[in-house]
């Protein structure tokens, strides 16, 4: 079984949920609707012809200022067939919520926590949605494109004193 056959089966089963199929340099991306994401993922994992039994990565992209703003990517791998497939779901800025897939691939637990930590995308039904990399009391989500890029202006000879006066030096 090959990737086009898998796509065909998914299309036949979830015709209205598959928005787009993109092929680029031998990599196939399945763009799906958020409502059918979990069912499609379960179908792909349990497909007897080509079971995608490994979630090799789960990541997000911020396309700001485009709309819809966010996309969550699920990089699937089929160990028995040596095939790869990417499932993509777009999310709007006002409602960055996506259902969790921890019930399908338990490895998604920490991946989803990382995406939540850095992008602020919430995963509905996640058993333990806390920050994973940043400190617990952190404010904001730094991989969003509207997050400030630098924390301190670059010091040159003409503005060195001005920046130095603002620096919070430690005291004993």
């Amino acid at each position: 079984m090959s990737i086009p056959e898998v796509i065909e089966r998914v299309r036949a089963r979830f015709s209205e949920a598959v928005q787009e199929v993109v092929e680029f340099r031998g990599e196939t991306t399945l763009v799906v609707r958020r409502e059918a994401l979990v069912e499609i993922c379960r179908f792909l994992r349990d497909d007897p012809g080509c079971p995608f039994n490994l979630l090799s990565d789960l990541c997000a992209v911020d396309y700001w200022p485009e709309r819809p703003r966010f996309a969550v990517n699920y990089h699937l791998y089929s160990l028995p067939r040596n095939l790869r497939l990417r499932v993509k779901v777009f999310l709007g800025e006002e409602d960055p919520v996506v259902p969790t897939v921890t019930g399908i691939w338990p490895t998604a637990n920490w991946h989803e926590r990382e995406v939540y930590d850095l992008f602020g995308i919430r995963f509905e039904g996640h058993p333990d949605l806390r920050r994973i990399l940043l400190p617990e009391d952190w404010e904001g989500h730094p991989l969003r494109r509207d997050h400030p890029l630098v924390v301190e202006p670059v010091q040159f000879s003409f503005n060195w004193q001005e920046i130095d006066a603002r620096k919070p030096y430690a005291r004993e």
Partner: protein, 175 residues
């Protein structure tokens, strides 16, 4: 009689005020001598904290290894416990999540204690001018010596340590 008193006067025995003054001078010089001896001893037996944060730690390990041999400067063993260390070499970039840990380790070290900021990242943040990295470890703990380089070669770190030794022998502290 005059012949007897002349040598006593020469030793200051016949003038009580002058005598006590001389003892005061003697005590001051003793304190200075003790200070000199203790600072000399501190430079000859420093106990660095076994603490590496990033790629600078690799150079720090190379400095301890046989080729550069940090034990020539009296610091061949790194202590894994801050209670037993008096020198913290901040080797690498300090992330904002690591910052409270660094400060806590510094607070746990015994007095007197010194800090070397090794490399550009520990000194200023280096190339990592972003949300995750502290822009210079001197925002968290007071630093005695900054060593530039990315990462500094072992000679650079040894130079920083020798400069710290000079600073300790001068007796002035940063805080």
């Amino acid at each position: 009689m005059g012949a007897v008193s002349e040598p006593l006067k020469a030793y200051g025995a016949s003038a009580p005020g002058q005598k006590s003054g001389e003892i005061g001078v003697a005590l001051t010089t003793l304190e200075e001598a003790l200070e000199w001896v203790s600072s000399w001893a501190r430079t000859r037996a420093m106990w660095p904290l076994l603490f590496g944060l990033a790629c600078c730690a690799i150079e720090m390990m190379a400095t301890q290894a046989s080729h550069y041999d940090l034990s020539r400067f009296g610091m061949e063993i790194m202590r894994a416990s801050p209670r037993q260390a008096d020198l913290m070499i901040v080797a690498g970039r300090v992330s904002r999540k690591m910052a409270p840990v660094v400060r806590r380790l510094y607070d746990q070290m015994t007095e007197p204690k010194w800090v070397i900021a090794m490399g550009d990242c520990a000194s200023t943040g280096g190339v990592f001018n972003n949300y995750a990295i502290v822009q210079g470890v001197d925002e968290i703990i007071p630093v005695d010596v900054y060593v530039s380089g990315c990462p500094p070669r072992p000679e650079g770190l040894i130079d920083g340590i020798v400069r710290l030794h000079e600073k300790i022998r001068r007796g002035n502290r940063s805080r």
